[in-house]
C-alpha cells in the first residue's frame, strides 16, 4: 500500500475532535478554563495555525537541535572559557538562569492547559508541541546553569530562585501566575504566546545572544538561540486566537494584550535593562536597552497588533517615557539592595561608562548622576557601609518592583511621585499609573502579597535586614555584592566628597 502524501493526511491529523454522547460541551470545556466568553462556540472552528507540523517532523527537528546544543556544550566544557568571562556578564547569565529556568516549567503547565482546554483540535495539537518545547527549555536552562554550581554557588539559584521568597522571585511569580497559571486559555494565548513570546522573548533571546557572543560566552548564546527557534513556532498560537476574539470581543482582546505587554515591559526593565546597559562590558555592547526595545519590541509588536486591528495601549506615552527611566532606576535599586540578589551587580558607572550612558540617554546624568556621585564618594572614602540598605524599598502592589519612576516637573526637575489608591479601607502605592490602572481593573484577582505586606504583617522575623535576607533564602555565600568596586570608582579618587555620608551627614 502506498503511503499517503503529507498534504493528504495533515489536515485531519492535526484537527481531530470528538462528538460527545455522555457529556455536554460545557463539561468538557468549562468557561473558567476555556474562556470563550462572547465568542460563539462555533467560531473557534476557524482557528488555524499558519505553520503546520507533524509529530515525526517535530521529533526529527528537535533531536537535531538538542544534539547540536549539547555538542557545543560538551566541547566548551573542556575549555577555560567560563573562567575568562567578565563578572558583569556572568551576573547577566545568573540573573537569566534564576529568573527563567522555572518560568519555562510554568510555561509547560500553561501549554498543557491549552492542549487540554483549547477550543479547537488544531490549537490543542499545536499546544501539545508547545508543552514539549517548554519542557526542553526548562531542562536545557536548568542543566546549563547547573554546570557552573561547582565554580560559583550563585549558579545554584538557577533551580532555587523560584522556590524562595526573594523579592525578584515574588515579582516574577506574580507576573507569570497572572499570565499563565490563573487565566483561561483564550486570555493565556493572548498573554503568553502572542504578547510575551512574540513581543518580548525576541529581546531576551536575540539581544542577549548577541551580547553573549560579543562577551565570548558561546555556550550561553548557543543555549538561548536553540530555545528561540522553538518560540518562533509555538508563539503562533496567539495570532489565530486573537483573530477570533477580536471579531467578537475587541474590548477584551485589547485589555488582555495591553495588560500583558505592560507586565512584561516592567519585568524586562528590571532584568534585561541592567544586563544590557550596565553588566555587559562596555566594549561588548551592541546597542542600548532602549535601542533594542525600539527595534525588537516596539516597532515589531506595534506593527503586529495593528495588523490585527488593535490600537496602541492606553499607557503608551508613559511606557515610552519609561524607556529612559525604569531600568536605570531599577539598576540603582538592584545595586543598592545587592545583598538581596543571587548575582553580583556591577555598578557600571566609570567615566567611560557614564559617557556611554549620557550619549544613549541624554537625561541620565541629570536624573541619576548625582546619586551615583554620592555613592562613589562613599566608596572612595572607605564608607561602603553607607552604600548598604537598612530598610526596604517600597514595592509596587502590581509589579512588585521598587516604586522608583521619576517624572519631570514643569520646572525641569525630576522627582519620584507617590501614585496611590485608597480602596476597601487600605492605601496602596504604585510605581506608575499603568500599574495602578491594572490593579484597579483586576482588583478581584488573586494577587501575591508584596514583601512590604509580608513584612508589615509580621511574617518576616526578626523584623530587620538579617530577618529579611533569611526570609528571602539568601545565605552569605551567595549574597550579591559588587564584583569590583575599584573598577568604577577609581576615576573619581581624590575629588572633594562634600555632602556624602563621610561628611557626617
Amino acid at each position: 500500500m502506498a503511503l499517503l502524501k503529507r498534504e493528504e493526511w495533515q489536515g485531519f491529523v492535526r484537527d481531530v475532535d470528538w462528538t460527545y454522547s455522555y457529556v455536554d460541551d460545557e463539561a468538557v470545556y468549562p468557561e473558567w478554563l476555556s474562556g470563550t466568553g462572547k465568542v460563539p462556540r462555533e467560531a473557534w472552528l476557524g482557528w488555524e495555525e499558519s505553520y503546520k507540523v507533524s509529530y515525526p517532523e517535530y521529533v526529527a527537528t528537535q533531536r537535531e537541535k538538542e544534539t547540536a546544543a549539547y555538542a557545543v556544550k560538551a566541547a566548551l566544557q573542556r575549555s577555560a572559557t567560563f573562567d575568562q568571562l567578565d563578572q558583569g556578564w556572568k551576573s547577566a547569565t545568573k540573573m537569566h538562569f534564576g529568573g527563567v529556568a522555572l518560568v519555562e516549567y510554568a510555561a509547560v503547565l500553561a501549554e498543557l492547559k491549552m492542549a487540554r482546554f483549547g477550543l479547537n483540535g488544531s490549537w490543542r495539537n499545536m499546544a501539545t508541541f508547545g508543552q514539549l518545547d517548554e519542557l526542553r527549555h526548562a531542562a536545557i536552562t536548568t542543566f546549563f546553569g547547573h554546570e557552573f554550581v561547582g565554580k560559583d554557588p550563585q549558579f545554584d539559584w538557577t533551580q532555587k530562585t523560584f522556590h524562595t521568597n526573594d523579592w525578584v522571585a515574588i515579582s516574577l511569580r506574580n507576573l507569570f501566575d497572572a499570565m499563565m497559571t490563573a487565566p483561561n486559555v483564550v486570555d493565556l494565548a493572548l498573554q503568553l504566546p502572542l504578547t510575551f513570546e512574540t513581543g518580548f522573548t525576541n529581546l531576551q533571546f536575540v539581544a542577549l545572544a548577541a551580547d553573549a557572543l560579543e562577551s565570548g560566552d558561546v555556550n550561553f548564546a548557543n543555549m538561548i538561540s536553540s530555545i528561540q527557534t522553538d518560540e518562533a513556532r509555538h508563539s503562533q498560537q496567539g495570532g489565530p486566537t486573537l483573530e477570533i476574539l477580536i471579531e467578537h470581543d475587541p474590548v477584551r482582546a485589547q485589555w488582555v494584550v495591553d495588560k500583558a505587554f505592560w507586565g512584561s515591559a516592567r519585568a524586562f526593565s528590571a532584568l534585561t535593562g541592567p544586563a544590557m546597559d550596565y553588566y555587559t562590558p562596555l566594549e561588548h555592547r551592541k546597542q542600548s536597552y532602549r535601542e533594542f526595545m525600539e527595534e525588537w519590541v516596539i516597532d515589531q509588536f506595534v506593527h503586529t497588533i495593528e495588523q490585527y486591528g488593535l490600537k496602541k495601549p492606553w499607557y503608551w506615552d508613559e511606557f515610552i517615557r519609561g524607556l529612559d527611566i525604569w531600568h536605570h532606576a531599577l539598576h540603582m535599586g538592584l545595586w543598592f539592595w545587592r545583598p538581596t540578589l543571587w548575582w553580583r551587580p556591577k555598578a557600571g558607572v566609570s567615566k567611560d561608562e557614564r559617557a556611554w550612558l549620557a550619549e544613549k540617554y541624554p537625561n541620565w546624568e541629570k536624573v541619576y548622576g548625582d546619586k551615583w556621585d554620592v555613592i562613589i564618594d562613599n566608596v572612595n572614602a572607605n564608607k561602603v557601609e553607607a552604600t548598604l540598605p537598612e530598610t526596604l524599598p517600597w514595592l509596587c502592589v502590581t509589579c512588585h518592583l521598587p516604586a522608583c519612576n521619576a517624572t519631570q516637573s514643569r520646572d525641569g526637575t525630576w522627582r519620584v511621585r507617590d501614585i496611590k489608591l485608597s480602596y476597601d479601607g487600605k492605601t496602596y502605592h504604585f510605581c506608575s499609573n499603568g500599574c495602578r490602572q491594572i490593579f484597579w481593573k483586576d482588583r478581584d484577582n488573586v494577587n501575591h502579597e508584596t514583601l512590604i505586606d509580608r513584612f508589615l504583617a509580621g511574617q518576616i522575623q526578626p523584623m530587620d535586614v538579617g530577618g529579611i535576607l533569611g526570609y528571602m533564602g539568601l545565605t552569605p555565600d551567595v549574597m550579591g555584592d559588587d564584583p569590583d568596586y575599584e573598577a568604577w570608582t577609581r576615576d573619581y579618587v581624590g575629588r572633594a566628597a562634600e555632602g556624602a555620608a563621610v561628611a557626617g551627614a
Partner: protein, 97 residues
Amino acid sequence: MTADLGAEDRAPELVPLNAIFATDFVQILVPVTTANTMAEVAAAVAHHVEGKRVRALPYDKVVIFDGQRLPADITVAAAGIKPLDHVTVEYDIPEQS
C-alpha cells in the same frame, strides 16, 4: 477603655510610612510612631538617604503630607498621618531674593 483616650494619652503606636526623601530615586519603608514629631520623622527618612544617595545640604528639613508642609513640632498622631500613608521630606531651602 483606650478607645476613649486621646492620641496623646495612648502608648505610641507603630506607623509604617511610604516615604521619599527630596531627589532620591526610590520610595522607601520608614517606620515611625504616633508620638514622633515631624522633625523626628524627617530625620528618620533622611537617615536612609542623606549622604548616602542624596548630597547633604545645610538646611532644615520639612515633612510634606497630603500637599501640606507640616510644622516641625507636630506629632504623627496630631497630623492625622496613618499607617501606609505617604510623606515627602524636602530641604527647606530659602527662596533666593
